[in-house]
Point group: D2
């Protein structure tokens, strides 16, 4: 932590800051500048947001953190990439790029089984489908709930595909974990700390989506919440951030891939469907994600998007998805990975 003193700060101001730094268990170190002093506070600043309160002291201009505030998620703690086992056959974080595909919502037995078979045939590794749906409007379809979980389990039985589905409430998290292979935390719950703690206590891999206005650092802090409860199997999913641009539903931040790869050992998944909100842009963004080094993709596929009860405009039809799989495979090979 670096404390920047004001240009006109007095010796007394500085001494008070030095005293307070020592009280908090840090070693202060003064650098006398030409117009002002800066003070380094040496010690592990993580979890010590209280240091920030030095900004209230007389003569202090600002407090600048130096260390990243996460530990378990950081490469300093674990250098090698984490490989997370999803099922007997599927792991993520190694050379194999994992594709998760399926509808936004489970709507009926026929719909989910037909989609599961289609995405399996195209080479997808994991089925996706929402049973508990967080919808912006209370008047929109809220999901089939436990019935949806049962249909997903039935589709798994028939196709062998493990499935990922969303958890929206600590009260129903255990129920979801009884059925699902991967627990998804949605973008709107990315800082729902009660929910993060809850899935941290369950024994299922977690697909954590980045919040719409979440910095990379906050994203890693949310992963840290899950990990600090004991669950290390966290996948980080970039799904578009909110910006001024309205040509796409969100702005898919693919540079999050190299930034995360530099900072964390956790696998990185890209969601081009929510990231663009438009099926016409899903293919190019999927190919770009593979080229940029993503470990996985999660793509919305629906047999009949015109009649989908949610997210129709961003869903691919099965034939388009199969064509995309072939193109992604070519890019993966050119990148010395498999898919």
């Amino acid at each position: 932590m670096i404390v920047v003193m004001k240009a006109g700060a007095t010796k007394k101001d500085r001494d008070e800051v030095l005293k307070r730094i020592r009280e908090l268990g840090y070693k202060p170190h003064v650098i006398h500048g030409e117009t002002r002093d800066v003070i380094g506070a040496v010690g592990d600043e993580r979890g010590k947001s209280v240091l920030q309160s030095l900004e209230s002291m007389h003569g202090v201009e600002s407090v600048v953190p130096i260390l990243q505030p996460y530990k378990l998620a950081s490469k300093e703690v674990k250098k090698a990439p984490s490989v997370i086992r999803i099922s007997e056959k599927v792991s993520i974080g190694g050379p194999q790029i994992v594709v998760m595909a399926g509808p936004c919502s489970v709507e009926s037995e026929r719909q989910i089984i037909e989609t599961a078979q289609a995405v399996k045939a195209a080479g997808a590794h994991v089925l996706r489908g929402g049973a508990f749906k967080p919808r912006t409007s209370p008047y929109s379809f809220q999901g089939l709930e436990e019935e949806g979980l049962k249909l997903l389990a039935r589709a798994r039985e028939l196709t062998g595909l493990p499935f990922v589905t969303e958890v929206v409430n600590p009260e129903t998290a255990e129920l979801v974990a009884e059925y699902a292979d991967i627990l998804q935390i949605g973008a709107r719950n990315a800082q729902n700390f009660a929910l993060l703690k809850k899935v941290g206590q369950l024994k299922r891999p977690v697909l954590l989506k980045r919040g719409m206005a979440m910095t990379i650092q906050e994203f890693l802090m949310s992963a840290e919440y899950v990990m600090s409860e004991g669950n290390q199997a966290v996948m980080l999913c970039e799904r578009g951030i909110r910006t001024f641009e309205t040509a796409t539903r969100n702005t898919l931040d693919l540079s999050a891939i190299p930034v995360l790869k530099e900072r964390t050992h956790l696998p990185v998944v890209i969601d081009p469907s929510h990231g663009t909100g438009n099926y016409r842009y899903v293919a190019p963004m999927s190919l770009a994600a593979v080229a940029a080094g993503a470990d996985g993709l999660i793509i919305e596929v629906h047999p009949d998007p015109e009649h989908a009860s949610s997210d129709g405009p961003q869903s691919l039809k099965p034939a388009k998805f199969a064509a995309l799989m072939a193109r992604m495979r070519a890019i993966a090979e050119a990148s010395e990975r498999t898919l």
Copy 2:
């Protein structure tokens, strides 16, 4: 809902769209333009996000919603401003501007009682203080929990001030409601729909904070979630949105006041403490909020911000808060309101 067809769409494309609009229970109405057709779908489009899926149809360029998707929160349903009763003496939404003040977190009996007495003496109407704290880091102070609620109740007993405190989990919402006069939903939970539904079932006024990347329309949809469960006593709190600017912690969007006043009957509260993140900017933004027509303010006050366990940099000392109250009163009077 307006469906914009592509320039090259065929008659067949158009007929399919017309058919689908009728199937969904709407009356289509075609306008033939010079380069393309647009089709109006007449009927109540609220809760019908399924209409959006028309975007997947052949020949369709885009689907443009016309109506606001909220009902209970809208002025179309209720024209007169809602006045919400907080305690025997305090109501919000009328000519009286309500000031809520206190520390970010309840830290000790002495701290909360001292603060309660100070803000009461300065003329505040409601005490604020966090017992369950949603912190970005799992290693930061997470609040005193039920012990904190008891201390807040003790402060209420001594000062007569009702209090507002945050709810973070559906599992503990009822516990909080046993103690608190107002239930706060924090910015990070503003689209935690499970929590919104839960507080919608409780009999306590709700202070709903705007999420960091939430549009005004989404903000009203979150209020609608609470209201659609039966609880009409919702206060809308603007607390800064996330933008590219880093000189302030968030960008306080005061224009949300007139925009909300135009669209909803619910009272509007401003949080200049989180909105700026810096005690030096709290006074000017509070005065601006009063002049712009806010119904209430929520301001962080701490007797010793340098030692606060959270949000020290944005907390006012009691003397500064008292001085601010006097200046706000002058602006309120010049605006023909009381404070």
Copy 3:
């Protein structure tokens, strides 16, 4: 400037950085941390963006600037607020709040003279009106150019109001300066450095608008461009920044007022018309600006907004403007200023 070394940086890495810091004329100062070193580079870092290139060195994680990069605009150079003389009777930056009002574009003699007389009668101090118009579309009305300047001069003659008008091109800047009392730099030209240098060489006060995606620091750097050429008479105008919110055309960042007041001696002007893009929100935002401490306002007024050739939706009619002036005066008085 603080150089943060990586956790695994070697002694050799550090020695190279120390050597390079010395070569650039700074004095390095090492703080040995628990997991990494940080190095302070003592010396005036302003104008030395070359220091940032240390980030390319082996073992360096990041380079954190400490000083603000502006000089002439800063309070360190000039503590007292700058009072800028606009005409014999009008100055800005003192206790008097200055109101500039008029149409977006000069359209005809009748329109500009009628408006000038109306805003004068309501108590405005300066007339505004565009002669050279920077329009997003090449097919939109581009302004009356020199003819517009002549009409503005005619309106000044009749009413005694000095006028502000926009400069869009270094090639026509001198022509505009022959007529105008204040030269406006628009938001889209806020980092058009060729234009900033040009108006820095002219002897007219400059109203510099903040760019749509400009940080406060960059805003002050643009002022510094004008000042470094010799023209110290710069007014800073906040006119809304671009965010994700679409309920308003821009997000008016009123917290820029206290932030700028803390950092610079230059007067601060608010533009609620462009800041909101909607006449219905202009009055509350104007009142808020006065309460927050603005030194001036610039407000669009048009006698017939439904027929305006630009910016009709955000223009006030003369009667509404007069009513607003009365309300602003009450807030100014409650704030111990005049208007």
Copy 4:
């Protein structure tokens, strides 16, 4: 254009709107909704921003444009992709992906020639280098100006590489055009309409960078400015937009590639150097750009980034650039293009 009436609008309000629509030369068409009417105004709305002023009329809630406001840049006017000839050997917009590489600024003869030879050897097609530099600070290096142009011409002579360099002022645009093969308009001048018109009158291809807070639609309107003056040879360059994220200098919006490909026939170029601001992220973002369908890339390469006078942190060394070229070639081939 669609005019949405308020719920309570009267027949008189509506008749006034209908009359005004007719006056402006459009044909109105009313759709009677359940709670409100909407009125379509049929006719070419481009260049008619005056229609927006209907928002000021009594009873009108909002005005929603339907058509895109650009013509020459649109696919409606020209369906086939534009192929722009840069030199005898190099064209952009066809199957060949064009790589432009070189330093941010021309600093010396040795530096630019050494770099030109290195990027040529690695397979780059165009040399980049700044002679007139738009710098945020007036105290930073402003470029070698005409001397820089001469050095670029000398490098072209030696290597055969055409070069791109920035134009910052209408007054020096012709001078730059005497030397350069491509005229670059920088992000900060992307809505400097005087400059856009000027390069529209010159006979050199233009590389137009997207402004930091520019929507895709505004970006195309800036291209339209150049094209409407007669110069159709415009390349659109995405170089990162400004968002809340600070882990990268800007957020590179790769989804701009498919969005632009859908709307315009102009070639699309990606700048991963400014887009990320960090040499460590340049390679993955370059590969992603190729996979997503970019027609060109512009990449900063410097022989000695630690000593660069600008943009050192985002420049690649020649060896890293050569390695990247090989990887991009593999992705290009997998995408059925050449590089």
